[in-house]
C-alpha cells in the first residue's frame, strides 16, 4: 500500500493548504521525506500501544481514533485532511501508538518517519517549527476533547463528544503582533 516519494504536484492536488501552512519554499524539503499510502475503509494503520516510528498526514478521507482495553474501546473521534497522527509517540518520548487508528472510508496518507523528521530539523528548521506549531494545536484540541468523560451512545458504543480535527486556519502560525498579544491577554476573539 506504500507508494514512492511524493512529488510537489501530487501533494498540491491533494492538499493545497499545506503550502500556505508551511510556506512554498518549505514544502519541497518536506516532500523529499514523504511517502504516500492509501488505506481502504476499515483498514488499520496503527494499533493502540504497538510500536510506532512515523507521523502520518491525512491527505484525503478520514481516520478514526480509539483507545483500547482488551476488546473494549473508547472512540475518540475522527480527524480529516491536514491533521496528523503519530505525533504523540514522537513528542512523549514513548514510541508507541496512543490509540488505534483505522480508515473511515478510502483514505490517502503521507508518511514521515521520526528519523526523517529529525533530518528535516537539520535541513529546514523553519518547516519543522511550523509543523510543530500545527502539532501543538492538534494536541490541545485532543486534550480538550478528552477532558470530558466518555458517554454511551444508543448503539452501546463508548465515545467522546467533540471534534478532534483541527481546521486549517488554526494549523498555520502567524507572527504575533501587539494586537494579537492584547487579544490573547484579554481573551478577545
Amino acid at each position: 500500500m506504500t507508494e514512492p516519494l511524493m512529488d510537489e504536484l501530487s501533494l498540491f492536488k491533494r492538499l493545497p493548504e499545506l503550502e500556505s501552512q508551511l510556506g512554498a519554499e518549505h514544502v519541497k524539503p518536506l516532500l523529499e521525506h514523504l511517502q504516500l499510502l492509501t488505506l481502504q475503509d476499515g483498514e488499520m494503520l496503527l494499533r493502540d500501544r504497538a510500536p510506532v516510528d512515523a507521523f502520518y498526514l491525512v491527505l484525503s478521507g478520514n481516520l478514526r481514533l480509539s483507545v483500547e482495553f482488551g476488546q473494549h474501546t473508547v472512540l475518540l473521534g475522527e480527524i480529516g485532511p491536514g491533521n496528523w497522527v503519530g505525533e504523540l509517540g514522537y513528542f512523549s518520548g514513548v514510541p508507541v501508538a496512543s490509540s488505534t487508528v483505522t480508515a473511515a472510508g478510502e483514505t490517502e496518507l503521507a508518511r514521515l518517519t521520526y528519523l526523517d523528521f529529525d533530518a528535516l530539523l537539520i535541513a529546514d528548521s523553519v518547516a519543522v517549527c511550523r509543523l510543530t506549531h500545527g502539532f501543538i494545536q492538534m494536541l490541545m484540541r485532543r486534550l480538550a476533547v478528552t477532558a470530558s468523560n466518555p458517554v454511551i451512545d444508543p448503539q452501546g458504543e463508548i465515545l467522546l463528544l467533540g471534534d478532534l480535527s483541527v481546521p486549517w486556519t488554526e494549523l498555520a502560525q502567524q507572527p504575533h503582533g501587539v494586537i494579537d498579544f492584547l487579544k490573547i491577554l484579554l481573551g478577545v476573539h
Binding site: 482495553f69 482488551g70 473494549h72 474501546t73 473508547v74 490509540s99 502560525q173 481573551g187
Partner: protein
Amino acid sequence: MLLRNFLRNLPSFQYLSETDVDHVAAAMRVDDYPDGHVFIYQGRLNKDMFLLLDGEVKASHYGDGGRYYTLKVLQPGEIFGLPSLSQGKPALTSCHAIGRVKVASLPFSAYMLLYQPDSDIGCRFQHVIASQLARDLHDRHDALRKLLAQVYGDGGTQGA
C-alpha cells in the same frame, strides 16, 4: 535550588540551548504556595505558564454531568496551564496545590516572546510545549483505559 539547573535536567528542555535555558530561567519567578492554592480556575483565562518544582498539583474538570473529577496529579518537572495561555481561551481544567508546593511561573508576555514563530528559540521552545502536551494526552489515554478496566472489570476479554 537553582532554577536553571532544575530546567537543564528536564528531558523536554534538552531541546533548548544553555543560553535559551538561562533566558527562560531569568523570566520565571519561583514561589511557595500553601495547600489548596488554586493556580487555574476552570472557565477563567489563565495568564501564566506554570512549572511544578516540588510537591503535587491536581488538575480537575467539572463535567457537564455535574461531576467534578480528577484528570491528573502533576509531578515535579511538569508544566501546566498551556492550552488556555496559548489559545487565549478559558481554561478547561482547574489546578490546585495538594499540600505545600513550589512552583515557577512564566508570565504571558514572556511566554509570547519565547513562542515567536520562526525564531530559533521559538522553534526550540515549541518542542518543550509539544512534549508536555503529548505527556498530558498520553496520561489521559491511560486514564481512559483505566476507566474501561473499571467499567468492565474483566481484563477486557469479554464483549461489551
